[in-house]
Amino acid sequence: MQMNMVSAINDALRVTMRADERVVVLGEDVGKVGGVFRVTAGLQEEFGEERVIDTPLTETGIIGNAIGMALGGLRPVPEIQFGDFIYPAFDQLVNEAAKYRYRSGGEYTCPMVVRVPVGGGIKGGHYHSQMPESLFIHTAGLKVVCPSNPYDAKGLLISSIRDNDPVLFFEPKRVYRALKMDVPEGDYTVDLSSAKVIREGEHVTCVSWGAMLFEALAAAEELKDQGVETEVIDLRTLWPLDAQTIVESVKKTGRLVIVHEAAKACGLGAEIVALLCEKAFLHLEAPPKRVTGYDTPFPYTNENEYLPLAHRIAPALLETARY
């Protein structure tokens, strides 16, 4: 069935809620109106106000409640309306949800999936465009997922809801309605620990995720005419990282470019470069390169200059391939 990412995520929620009555959805505007992006549209009609809950407007409250629900035997799927608004809940996420299993010696666990629309490219300015993955990867105990397409979005979300650890599920807003693809009806999962090589190439490896993956692919296509074949890896699950897939690819190509929307300093790209230096240094033929958002706040008017779009990725790939 043809689905965009919005309908694929909606379908994943429907499928899991039908199969498991412990799954509940909560957040600002998620019920009657189906969320500001309509990702939860129709769920309240089918599952009722008790399982699809319009909450008061407090992110601390939403996540603190969801944690309590998880401890109490439910599988909550809270939505934070925009990634930019997640910070009031930071304490509950990094000190509480992320640490429950560890600090209780496994007596308590916190199975919940925090759905978060993220990223730029929708003319949202600083408060509707951020990519905060690094903040959550840096604290132990959270899984971080970011699908790039409808098929993965549905399969990864179903896996995340069934996972016994807290998962931050980052949904790239720019992709929400940008493409449709064939998505199976009913139940299927996409493994939470594997990156995917989505384009094979022998000259340079390009690692990306979320909305920027399409920019990386566009740049890779552009370079074909110049004889450069780029291997593109979609990370899909950002943490824990599938380092093996990246290392294997770089052992083949000897060259690495990482593309992400988030700011450069301490971005996930920095970690991937460091890992590669530790695990495959002698295979490197060129300095690894990062094409990322800048270390500025996310700008409104110039967002297409801030984002690492194809026009910035292609020269970086070329330079790395020919170094």
Binding site: T58, N65, P76, S104, G105, D165, P240
Partner: protein, 377 residues
């Protein structure tokens, strides 16, 4: 002019204008108005748990001073607020503590050995020495996992009650927190949710007068902390938190009400932090001696003992026997805890996730096989 008005009518009175519910006077005489007329065996059980908690606190403080444990945060003077409230709830109800309510877990049967093992962070510690002393986890007695950030347990207790309501389980939850936590985000968010969804949860506010060095008058300009309930549509009651019988009565009634769909209650337990905030603190630097002396006259243990003695249910001989029993029990627990080895280094990497990911397995190997830190660094 017509003003838009979509609020439900509220009949909540200002808590500051209501009486502070009390049963026992300073000499242990019970006022019949609010006396819950508890079975004396139950009162004795509560009393023994309160004195046991006090004795454990005093012993642990000494161990810290001797350098045998690293830290202790005690509950001296607040035993009625902690133990009688736990006693007033049902076995199946869930408690979400801050870090001062170990006495509630012990009342419910959490083993003293497990607690002392936690104080030492040894290999027998349920949480493998991952947390500071007093940061216990006691799921077996439906008691949460202690955390240091202020107030975070409040929204979680509310969420647990929300889950119970959705699952049609007759469970009431309670969060414990101090006066300082009434300024936290989670207090606001917790009461907001509990009010809106009419959840079966109690907010057990131990107003002990001090948040480390900051007095309650610097937490709020309200006349009473309990008045904060009005803004959330949450019923609030003030009770003498050093009066075990009054605490029991109020918490028991609120539990029954919540269980029957009557919604949440904010209960301000007016108590006093007789000791320091923790072993890292010296209250003589900021607290008036006269205030402390005045407050110590309200000591909850002495009042309840006098009550029991008046009823002919407690004697000096029983007191001595109880003290000897707890002293011996503590001695054995401490000996065992000190004899236990530290947790394994490998365990530091477990329970981050359900299944250990490759990067942690790698770091675990690196750490276990690597050089060791010097002793006594």
């Amino acid at each position: 002019m017509e003003v838009h008005q979509s609020y439900p009518p509220s009949a909540l009175p200002w808590a500051a204008d209501q009486e502070v519910i009390a049963v026992l006077d300073l000499e242990g005489r019970a006022d019949a108005t609010h006396d819950p007329r508890l079975d004396l065996a139950l009162v004795t059980r509560i009393y023994k748990a309160m004195t046991r908690t006090r004795m454990i606190d005093l012993r642990l403080t000494k161990l810290q001073r001797q350098g045998r444990i690293g830290f202790h945060v005690g509950a001296e003077g607040e035993e009625a607020a902690i133990v009688a409230s736990a006693a007033a709830m049902r076995d199946g109800d869930w408690l979400f503590p801050c870090y001062r309510e170990v006495g509630a877990a012990l009342y419910r049967g959490f083993s003293l050995q497990a607690y002392v093992d936690n104080m030492y962070g040894n290999a027998n510690d349920v949480v493998h020495g991952r947390q500071m002393p007093d940061h216990i986890t006691a799921r077996s007695v439906r008691f949460g996992s202690v955390t240091a950030p202020i107030g975070t347990q409040i929204t979680q207790a509310v969420g647990f009650a929300h889950a119970a309501k959705i699952r049609r389980e007759d469970i009431v939850t309670a969060s414990y927190f101090g006066d300082g936590a009434t300024s936290s985000n989670d207090f606001h968010a917790g009461l907001t949710f509990a009010g809106v969804f009419n959840l079966p949860t109690l907010f057990l506010l131990r107003n002990n007068g001090w948040a480390i060095s900051v007095p309650t008058s610097h937490q709020t300009a309200a006349r009473a902390l309990a008045d904060k309930g009005i803004g959330y549509g949450v019923r609030a009651v003030r009770v003498d938190g050093n009066d075990a019988l009054a605490v029991y009565r109020v918490v028991n009634e609120a539990t029954r009400r919540a269980s029957q769909g009557g919604g949440p209650t904010l209960i301000e337990l007016i108590t006093y932090r007789a000791g320091a905030h923790s072993t890292s603190d010296d209250p003589t630097a900021y607290r008036d001696k006269a205030e402390v002396e005045r407050q110590l006259k309200r000591d909850p243990i002495r009042r309840l003992r006098k009550y029991l003695e008046r009823q002919g249910a407690w004697s000096d001989a029983q007191e001595q026997a109880h003290e000897a029993e707890v002293t011996e029990e503590l001695k054995q627990c401490i000996e065992r805890a000190e004899a236990a080895p530290p947790p394994s280094i490998a365990s530091m990497f477990e329970d981050v996730f359900e299944h250990m990911p490759e990067h942690l397995a790698e770091q675990q190997r690196e750490c276990v096989q690597g050089p060791r830190a010097k002793k006594g660094h």
